[in-house]
Amino acid sequence: MNRRLFLASSLFGACARDHRPRLNVYNWSTYIDPAMLARFERERGVRLRYGTYESNEEMLAKTMTGNSGWDVVFPTHSRLAPMARAGLIANLDHSRLPSLRNLHARFQRPAWDPNLHWGVPYMWNATGVAYIPFQDFAVEGWSYLWSDRLRGRLTMLDDPEDVIGACLQKLGYPFGSIDARQLAAARNEAVRQKPLLRAYLNAEVRDQLVSGDVLAAQLWSTTAAQAMRGNPNLAFVYPEEGYPLYCDCAVILRESGRYELAHDFLEFLLQPDVAAANARAAETATANGEARVTRDPVLYPPDDIYRRGVWPEALPSAAQRYRDRLWTEIKSA
């Protein structure tokens, strides 16, 4: 009986086909305001199909073979060059994107894509240290996370790039180092930290920061901002040793046959009010300079702090493999 239902519903679906043009958008979860999607559908008379993913790798696994069905995806900036080299990205037609000038000055000629050939910067965030302040102690950077007073009440992100990067920066080395000795030293730092470490947690640690279970965490600025709303006693610092910045960019896949519509969508996202609504819904920092949002210093660091940040790049294969090997060693130590 249910098989008939399945068949019937697919038949019905085929017959009751929407004759509006369609656009398939694949984005990070909770990264857009649904009202904006509805507005785009209304204004352009199209049907938007919106799907979400949790990691770049998940998205890449689907798009890599070139017939995933998606038109627009949002990779993190370091994935743009590899994707372009693999021939997955359709070059942007600037004549269709007059609102590119709305982008904040920092994102007009970004390091990973200076001519904005590949992707339109969308939202960005950074990794830093969220903590419960003690009166006698000033927290400056990564080194706080090796403090003995945090024994058992400290967490790091469950992400090799962030953890190894933080260790490297703590030791004064570059975040994207591919030097074997520097990486080995970073591994030793991480292993040294393990007895103090409660767990490797991502956004899940937010609730434990709010309740006070955890005293300090390596955390993304977006999650930290959320936690601070739940517990105003919390603080966030952008480490003085340096910290990574991440930007997710809207990209049109070459396999898509809907270039015009896709460009329309990207142009739509660049409108200040749309960008503001999306930033509010995603609770993160927008790359749009014209959008009117409260510039929370946790999400929008001032210029001098911003200058300390680095934009990680895609690493060569051998270095990537070595890092991954180190991550396994760190985790099993």
Binding site: R3, S29, G51, E58, N67
Partner: protein, 253 residues
Amino acid sequence: MKRKALGIYSAFVLAFLHAPLLILIVFSFNSSRFTVWEGFSFRWYRAAMNDPQLADGLMNSLIIAVVAALLSTLIGTLAAYGIWRQRSVILSGSLYLSLVTPEIVTGVSLLALFQWSFRFLHMRLGLHTVVISHIAFSIAYVAIVISARLRNYDRSLEEAAMDLGASEWHAFSRVTLPSLAPAIAAAGLLALVVSFDDYVITSLVAGVDSETLPMVIYAMARRGVSPVVNAVSALIVVAFGAIILLSQRLQEK
């Protein structure tokens, strides 16, 4: 005497299994989005009802689970019975191997298969690919449950029936099948639940229009974003609980 002890023990085990569920339900009424109690509120239920993604996901999950469970129970039961009557090392070997394969590997390998073959067939990922994948891994579960039941089953019953003039088919359908019925029901339930709850494989082989409930929930929960997830889970539990009680009443009549 022994039954009472058994009953109390079972009650404890069931309570242990249901503890997370109760917590879930309690916190679905929390007015704060963090797991610190702030006050009583229905806001997450309202949010859940108004979320079209959740409704779509639930519908997809149900369709997939029912279709996959039906087909895999059918195929798996037949396979288990066939293997019981006539050994097939290759088939039982591959069934066990499919059980043993990590989900991510099943997912990635099926994705590769689909992507490769779809280029020639001009098809895309969708509900059908999810159903196919779910059946692929559920067959082994069903087969194992039925095989376990069959090992205690007396072969001679069927042979006796055939001596008395029944055909092979009748010996199976009139003699063996009825006594397998509870095991088939149990296996079908297992297949249903396994399919409904699957995330890893589904997320890899799902297409543009085939987001399932676990995918939606994972997305929400992983971000630590909101107790809408709790509200949805509470609604599901209450709905299924009601269905169970109802079917029990009907059975007892």
